[in-house]
Amino acid sequence: MTPLLELQNVSVSIGSAQLLDGVSLRLERGQTLGLVGESGSGKSLTAMAAMGLLPLIGGHVSAGSVSFDGQDLASLTDPQRRALRGRRIGFVTQNPMTALDPVQRIGAQIDVVSRLHLGLTKSAARARTLDLLTQLRIPEAHAVAEAWPHQLSGGMKQRIVIAMALAGDPELIIADEPTTALDVTVQAQIIQILAALVREKGVALLLITHDMGVVAQICDRVAVLYAGRLAEEGAVAPIFAAPQHPYTKALITCIQQEGMARGTLRGIPGAVPSARQYPTGCRFHPRCIKATAECAAHTPPLVAKGDGQAACLHLPEPAL
């Protein structure tokens, strides 16, 4: 079966900087794929590439291919790509505070998506909008539809953004750090809403996040990006049980757990290098506890591990 979304060896450049280097991902229908990494690791670029929106930020796919439902995005015309966006792929942006047009009422902003993509009449679109708002557990849907964006809270705005993403009845939702800008209590609600969509509507979800805790809760598979390269990819349970890549392991130890002793919350020392000065060899080696001289000299290839893959020169031997 063809996967719904497939990235094959995708590299992305903006100007002379190559920001994404040979990333491959697969997302099946009805699945949830978590895309994890620190800020600057290329998560959002991957999302933009999947939507064919790179020109908006002056970037382009310099190698590899992105295909949706077996169709190579590069082979489509502009109008065809536009017809995919919003109709078959819904997008939830990072910051709900600025994702809504400040001079249009909420309802009108959601209506327009189903009018454009599903060809609904004005009244049918509004009925659909109210229905969506109710599904997303927004109280007083009528009043909210008549409200202006500045009258709503952040969590409410993010639900509106999700409603806009859903209005075209998409098969895939790409959510780019949908909870980063929200309060902790609201974060959990939004994650539950997204998980429910996958469960109840069979929508596939590409969830971009830097929170391994969220991944553990709702994702089927996870892909870990570091400095524009795939560090590890595979099913969630085995990766959390036995992370192959030291970076994945470090990310998992960053999760706060119940009963943790004070002062044991771990961070990863250092920061993601900028695209103009990527280290040689394995890009993680300056921050890696396992790093040897070999790591600076050789780029580790992606090696199949179980049903996933990992890129590290010091992969643990399978314990057979």
């Binding site: 908006l56 017809a83 995919l84 966006r85 600025t98 809504l100 454009l116 209005a167």
Partner: protein, 281 residues
């Protein structure tokens, strides 16, 4: 529901008297024939140079015409010429600015260069040159004023659209399949509108002064049609003999322009979408 911003501006301490004055002047200009028993153009040399009195509240001019009548009819000329000129200017400026920001490239560079070039000259100079080309009169004044302020609105619209293009909601609209036209006309222009309209309001005040200046030079509305600038020009020779002839139109220009500025400021305070967002967060 809160009333619209223009009404809310009327409730502000400076906006209230300013707004009322403007409403008064506009109503007077519209209802001019109903308000005064005199005609603005019939000369009566026997009653020339009369100071303000019960029958002529603001006195009469050198041809014995009632000054209040001419002032009210002059409001028609001044207000309509400046507001029509600014409307034309805003429409052309927004189109040019939006097109420049949207298409970018050589078109943007060409528009920006020409606009910056005109921007570096004082408005009065541009207006004088244009009136010299087109010829004096109401039409010439209108065209001259609208070209003189074109640079301002083009630059403002272009800058607004350039900033808005980077906003998340534009990316969000694109990610939901919105086309170029939809993004430009439904998202970018409506968001750029409020600041442009407020600046148009304030520019109308400047345009009244510019219209009066052209009138003072004898380049505006031609006699016997009254304009505030033309009346001041006639009165300037008679400052000592009949000072009211220049004082009252001068006051009319000054108070109206101050009122437009005060009301415009109140409107800025009420319309500022960003300020509203800050309050809501």
């Amino acid at each position: 529901m809160t009333p619209p911003a223009p009404l809310r501006a009327l409730r502000r301490p400076a906006g209230a008297p300013a707004g009322l004055w403007l409403i008064l002047v506009i109503l007077a200009a519209i209802a001019a024939p109903l308000l005064t028993p005199y005609a603005y153009d019939i000369q009566n040399l026997k009653s020339a140079y009369q100071p303000p009195s019960a029958s002529h509240w603001l006195g009469t001019d050198e041809f014995g015409r009632d000054l209040l009548t001419r002032l009210i009819y002059g409001a028609r000329t001044s207000l309509s010429v400046s507001s029509i000129a600014i409307t034309i200017s805003v429409l052309c400026g927004m189109t040019l600015g939006a097109a420049a920001a949207w298409f970018g490239g050589w078109f943007d560079r060409a528009v920006t260069t020409v606009v910056d070039l005109t921007w570096s000259f004082p408005e009065i100079l541009i207006a004088l040159i244009l009136v010299a080309i087109i010829g004096p009169g109401t039409t010439g004044t209108m065209v001259a004023i609208s070209v003189a302020y074109l640079a301002q609105f083009t630059r403002l619209t272009r800058a607004q659209i350039m900033t808005l293009k980077g906003e998340t909601f534009i990316e969000a609209a694109a990610s939901l399949g919105a086309g170029n036209a939809h993004i430009l006309f439904r998202h970018l222009l409506p968001n750029a509108l409020a600041p442009v309209l407020v600046s148009a309001m304030l520019a109308t005040g400047d345009a009244i002064i510019l219209e009066a200046t052209l009138g003072f030079f004898g380049l505006g509305a031609q006699p016997p049609v009254p304009s505030w600038g033309g009346m001041m020009s006639a009165g300037s020779a008679l400052v000592f003999k009949a000072p009211w002839i220049i004082i009252f139109p001068g006051l009319a220009v000054a108070i109206t322009v101050v009122a437009i500025n005060l009301y415009g400021d109140a409107l800025i305070a009420e319309l500022d979408i960003r300020a509203r967002m800050r309050r809501a967060v």
